[in-house]
């Protein structure tokens, strides 16, 4: 049953050194505030699972928190490469990084299978693809009816998943709207789940019956962190801060610049800073 707590408390209660952790959100609703709190708490030896590692894992990898990353697209969407991730893979800085690489289809199916309580996901994929040769977690299953060879990957079962959502109600049920990505699956696949939200509303009586809602008994902690997705966005609250994504490229390109930026913008701040970061992005663009 979801408890309402501060983000600091939620991270301390749920994220441990060595955990397999997913911070999910497909472009939309990326839980930046939760990642920054995890960075401040200095967790280590994490296995980071995420379809698109994006800025959040670039930051955690650069801060030396990751033992391994499980992913399907390690780019800065629309901008270019992830330079801290590259530096870790190419130069072992700040230390070596283990890589388990999949396709989007495989990762999406692996989350789905995790939510479904299955040990593996079965799908039609990786035909002729090189990843099969470098990832021993890509295997095969034969359809017992047609004989077709299908791909199989292990399901994703994180120790803990962090997501950002638009709203919780007073009971701690959580509503996700718009581009919903794999968040429902990432929460249901995990042992524990922490959700940061833009706001708490009285009830969801006026919400569509088939909207994406996570009941409170699927969630460990709910934390109210307005702006907690910035520079990603929260549909209906504020738009994507594309300029910050572009700026990240230069920041991450240089180890010293990166460290300075992390100190100034993450280590010396707390979760309350996010509300101010979205001031100029509310209701913009439309």
């Amino acid at each position: 049953m979801a408890k309402f707590t501060s983000l600091k408390e939620a991270v301390a209660d749920n994220l441990r050194d060595g955990d397999v952790v997913a911070f999910e959100g497909f472009t939309h609703l990326i839980p930046h505030a939760a990642v920054h709190e995890a960075i401040r708490q200095g967790r280590k030896e994490l296995t980071l699972v995420r379809m698109t590692p994006d800025l959040v894992y670039d930051q955690m990898i650069g801060m030396g928190m990751a033992k391994k990353v499980v992913f399907s697209y390690a780019g800065n969407p629309g901008v270019g490469l992830l330079r801290r991730f590259r530096d870790a893979v190419e130069n072992n800085w700040p230390h070596a990084l283990e890589v388990e690489e999949h396709s989007h289809a495989a990762m999406a199916n692996a989350y789905e299978a995790g939510a479904a309580g299955l040990p593996c996901a079965v799908f039609r994929g990786y035909k002729g693809a090189g990843l099969k040769n470098v990832n021993s977690n890509i295997r095969e299953v034969v359809c017992p009816f047609t004989g077709e060879t299908l791909a199989a990957v292990p399901s994703v079962r994180p120790d803990v998943t962090f997501i950002h959502a638009q709203k919780a109600n007073r009971k701690g049920d959580v509503l996700i709207e718009g581009i919903i990505g794999v968040q429902k699956e990432a929460v249901l696949a995990a042992k524990r789940a922490v959700v940061t939200v833009e706001e708490v509303v009285e009830n969801f009586d006026d919400v569509h019956p088939n909207a994406c809602i996570l009941p409170n008994w699927t969630i460990s902690n709910v934390c109210v962190v307005p702006g907690g997705a910035h520079p990603s966005y929260a549909h209906g609250y504020y738009i994507r801060d594309n300029a910050s994504y572009v700026e990240w490229d230069a920041i991450a390109a240089d180890r010293e610049k990166f460290t300075d930026w992390m100190n100034k913008n993450v280590m010396e701040k707390d979760e309350t800073v996010f509300a101010s970061r979205i001031e100029n992005l509310k209701g913009a663009g439309k």
């Binding site: 472009t27 780019g75 629309g78 989007h104 999406a108 035909k127 439309k286």
Partner: protein
Amino acid sequence: MSEAFSPDEMMTIAAARALGNSDICFVGIGAPSAACNVARLTHAPDITLIYESGTIGTAPDVLPLSIGDGELCETAVTTVGVPEMFRYWLQGGRISIGFLGAAQLDKFGNINTTVIGDYGAPKTRLPGGGGAPEIASSCGEIFITMKQSLRGMVEKIDFFTSFGHGSGGNHRQELGIATKGPTLLVTDLAVWKPDPVTKEFTVRSLHPGVTREQVQATCGWEVKFADDLGTTEAPSEQELNTLRDLKARTKAAHEGQAA
């Protein structure tokens, strides 16, 4: 009639022309997104554009920076979860055309966007495949757009991120892949199509003003030209205006946000 245009503009417009009103397109970011939206704003108003973020039937007014910008959801017929997108819509065989870009491309349409150098100890670690491995095998056919360069168009790619025609001929069928694979390559210099038998990309038309030598000088394999090599029709005023207006709206929107 038509004004001056850049090779980039020609590439986007030539790709847009290959799309029809009844196509269901799986759109990537960059040139594919521009081409698909130019098609939608010119000759194919009813084309269905799908982005892998789950947005089905989008009609964005400006080009998204990422594949999951809010505009895509706001203008979509419906927005589904990512597992459903990859299971029901892509794997389900409902996409007629998938668009892919490439860091490295070979003459059989095989694509590398994973690593330059050895996978275990790469010289350059690229973003990786994302949706590409299954886009390449599940869409009815694949269109590729890229700027020509010796670094990009190579005899042998370093990693098979997504499978095109493999080593050519019937290699796809031999692997049990039922879809057509790459049927079109539009570069900044030319329009290419695979040879019906060997499946090697062959230049079918040169963009206006481009020579065979320019195409060969920026391509790492020995280029085959069609016997009936033509010239790509120059962009019409409408096509060019549509593309430029779209880019201007996009620039204004993205800069506005940065302010």
